[in-house]
């Protein structure tokens, strides 16, 4: 369960998250929608532990553990996974080397033994097959020369291997054509379990046709301004965000 309580965040003196509060239950898929510049990506970065932001007050609890103040790698080992809007290219680091290093680093943090190479290979192959990731992609440097769709699939592959208790998808649909979107969405859907929650951040309703949320939240000016079921996404697709922008301006 992810609980964000009264989170206030600024960057360079400019307030971005404004008393932001949200709870996502175990197994729940919550979507956050909202116009550009409302702090959606900031929210994901702050939860994951990026240091460019000033957290003024508030709490972020994952399964009851306070995440604020922990290093990003410790948060990951506690079960948090952020699928990046733009996964980074890491030249010179072979994808397989990276995956194994990440998996073993998390296991070490949790006091577990390193994964054996045969086990690791088997798990990568299974997850890769599901996501249509070709073996030659795994031999290349991480994300280098990958298409937008390949990068997103690689992020979902990482999520499948790392088995987090909570996943944040930050605008996973950006830069994806419809076929790639389906593959990525199917990858995410296959990871849905009664225990694993997701926070899906998106501008558009389209992604939510494929990853069907339990709840939809509308975010504007750094906080949640409306909450509803999946039908809210359809309504937004019709009416746009103008009403919420006007409400804020008023």
């Amino acid at each position: 369960m992810l609980e964000v309580k009264n989170l206030n965040v600024s960057i360079g003196g400019r307030k971005i998250l404004n008393d932001f509060t949200l709870t996502v239950q175990d197994g729940e898929v919550a979507a956050i929608m909202g116009p550009n510049g409302t702090g959606k990506s900031t929210l994901s970065y702050v939860i994951a532990g990026r240091k460019d932001y000033t957290v003024e007050s508030g709490e972020v609890l994952l399964n009851g553990v306070e995440l604020l103040g922990l290093e990003p790698d410790v948060r990951a080992a506690k079960g948090l996974f952020l699928a990046f809007q733009y996964p980074l290219e890491i030249p010179g680091v072979a994808t397989m080397t990276f995956l194994k290093a990440a998996l073993n680093a998390q296991r070490k943090q949790r006091g577990e033994d390193e994964i054996s190479t045969p086990d690791f290979m088997k798990r990568v192959k299974e997850a890769g097959d599901r996501l249509g990731i070709k073996p030659d992609m795994l031999k290349r440097a991480l994300n280098v020369g990958f298409s937008g769709g390949e990068k997103k699939r690689m992020d979902i592959l990482q999520m499948a291997l790392l088995e987090p208790s909570f996943g944040i998808l930050d605008e996973t649909d950006s830069g994806l054509d419809i076929d790639a979107l389906k593959v990525v969405a199917e990858g995410v859907n296959s990871l849905r379990t009664p225990k694993r929650g997701f926070l899906v951040i998106t501008h558009y309703q389209r992604l939510l046709d494929y990853i069907v949320p339990d709840t939809v939240h509308v975010m504007a000016q750094g906080r949640i301004v409306r909450t509803g079921g999946k039908e809210l996404a359809l309504e937004l697709e019709q009416s746009g965000y103008r009403d919420y922008m006007a409400e804020e301006a008023a």
Binding site: A48, G49, R50, E71, P72, D73, R75, A76, A77, L82, F84, P87, L88, I90, P91, G92, V93, F98, A101, A102, L103, A105, Q106, Q109, A141, Q158, L162
Partner: protein
């Protein structure tokens, strides 16, 4: 009245003149070689040790950095050779080894070479005085004006002359192993020549032996003559110098038509290191790649200076160098590319990248393009910066602690060039060197 300017000689210059005076009667070579030595020493002594007002040495002020000249290392003793033999027996080799002890070729601890490859000592070749080899050794086509190349020519004690017959294909790298007999600081002057016949293919790996580190002053010179359509790889492992030592390597290569030449060097040593590379595209449509990685910390100083001359049309030149600088280290990269009027359709690209890990490091980049042909594509770039915070965050968000994320990115930065060497055994060796450097950084 005009003031009379009398050039002052430093203690080091005076000592070098004395060393040359004492040694010249016994240095190997026929009469022509003796004259060559005299001329070379004259050129050196007139210029003196290079200093900051010499453009090519602006960032490596040798006159200030090398205050004294050490005694020249004596010929290795039988006991030293036996010790070396025992040590070499314990270490693994990626290919046949030609061993130089204090710059002197030691055939009795060297391996036999495959068919089509012959080796002789430099001393034997200089004594015999075959004009074609002497001309190649003197790098006459290059018209190099450099006091350190001259000093090496004057005092060269020994080295190897390796000839690869035309059409020969050598499977495993031939290693030039540099070993030192004692830890007493001494000066060594050696020069080697590799002549690769037309259509031959070979890889030459310069490696260092011994864990004690090479103290003293090393003046090395390696000359390549690459025949038409030959394929040549070269690597240099400069990882054995220690604080207070001076290592000045001159690397000279001439490439024939349609030949391919790739050279990589790793510098992790202490003290002062300068590699100056003189590459000449002599025949058309040749391809040359020069690359290198320097990993520096403490007050180490490493200088890579290139003089690339396109003297024939349609050649492709790629120069890629990377530096990781920590603590108070200084990196220097200078790349001078000259495209002669005949060298139309030259395609040249030069790039230097430096990662600066502390505010107290210094990186000096100086690209120079002199283009006298009008139909060429030449470019250069230089970057200096820190690790990318976005990449660091991405890796940390996947579970790697910050120090491990940094190490991964640093290793990758160096390994990207290492991985292009084209021989798995050599790649493993260089990767191990990089990992060892990063490992010692993590502990510090």
């Amino acid at each position: 009245m005009t003031a009379q300017i009398i050039p002052t000689r430093t203690a080091a210059e005076t000592a070098l003149a004395e060393a040359f005076g004492a040694a010249k009667a016994t240095l190997p070579g026929c009469a022509e070689v003796a004259k060559l030595r005299e001329d070379a020493f004259g050129a050196f002594f007139e210029a003196g040790l290079p200093h900051r007002r010499v453009e090519a040495w602006h960032y490596t002020d040798l006159r200030a950095l090398m205050r004294d000249a050490l005694p020249v290392a004596p010929t290795p003793t039988a006991a030293a050779i036996e010790t070396l033999r025992a040590e070499l027996g314990k270490s693994a080799a990626v290919g046949p080894r030609l061993v130089l002890l204090d710059g002197v070729f030691v055939p009795e601890v060297s391996d036999s070479l495959p068919a089509g490859v012959t080796v002789r000592s430099l001393a034997a070749v200089l004594t015999e005085g075959r004009p074609d080899l002497v001309a190649l050794l003197a790098a006459q086509n290059h018209q190099i004006v450099d006091p350190i190349v001259s000093l090496n020519a004057a005092l060269m004690q020994d080295g190897v002359v390796l000839e690869v017959a035309p059409g020969t294909s050598v499977a495993e790298p031939i290693q030039l192993v540099y070993a030192t007999a004692s830890s007493v600081p001494l000066a060594r002057f050696f020069r080697s020549l590799v002549v690769v016949g037309a259509g031959a293919s070979v890889m030459i790996a310069e490696t260092c032996h011994g864990e004690g580190g090479r103290t003293g002053q090393t003046f090395g010179c390696l000359v390549f003559s690459v025949g038409d359509e030959a394929r040549v790889g070269h690597t240099a492992e400069v990882t054995d110098t220690v604080a207070g030592s001076v290592r000045l390597d001159s690397f000279i290569a001439e490439i024939g038509a349609k030949a391919k030449f790739d050279s990589f060097a790793l510098i992790t040593g202490g003290g002062l290191v300068r590699r100056q590379i003189f590459l000449r595209f002599a025949g058309e449509e040749a391809e040359g790649t020069l690359s290198g990685v320097s990993l520096l910390r403490g007050r180490e100083h490493a200088d890579t200076t290139l003089f690339v001359e396109h003297a024939a049309p349609g050649c492709i030149g790629r120069e890629t160098f990377r530096y990781i600088l920590d603590e108070e280290a200084t990196g220097v990269f200078q790349g001078k590319i000259r495209v002669a009027p005949v060298a139309q359709k030259t395609d040249g690209r030069m790039l230097s990248k430096a990662l600066l890990l502390a505010d107290t490091v210094a990186m000096n980049n100086k690209p120079e393009l002199e283009i006298f042909a009008d139909d060429v594509a030449c470019g250069h770039g230089a970057t200096c910066g820190g690790l990318n915070p976005d990449q660091l965050f991405y890796i940390q968000a996947r579970g790697l602690p910050q120090a491990d994320a940094e190490a991964l990115l640093l290793e990758a930065f160096a390994a990207e060039l290492v991985d292009e060497i084209g021989h798995d055994g050599l790649i493993d060796g260089f990767r191990a060197d990089v990992a060892a450097w990063l490992g010692s950084r993590a502990k510090a």
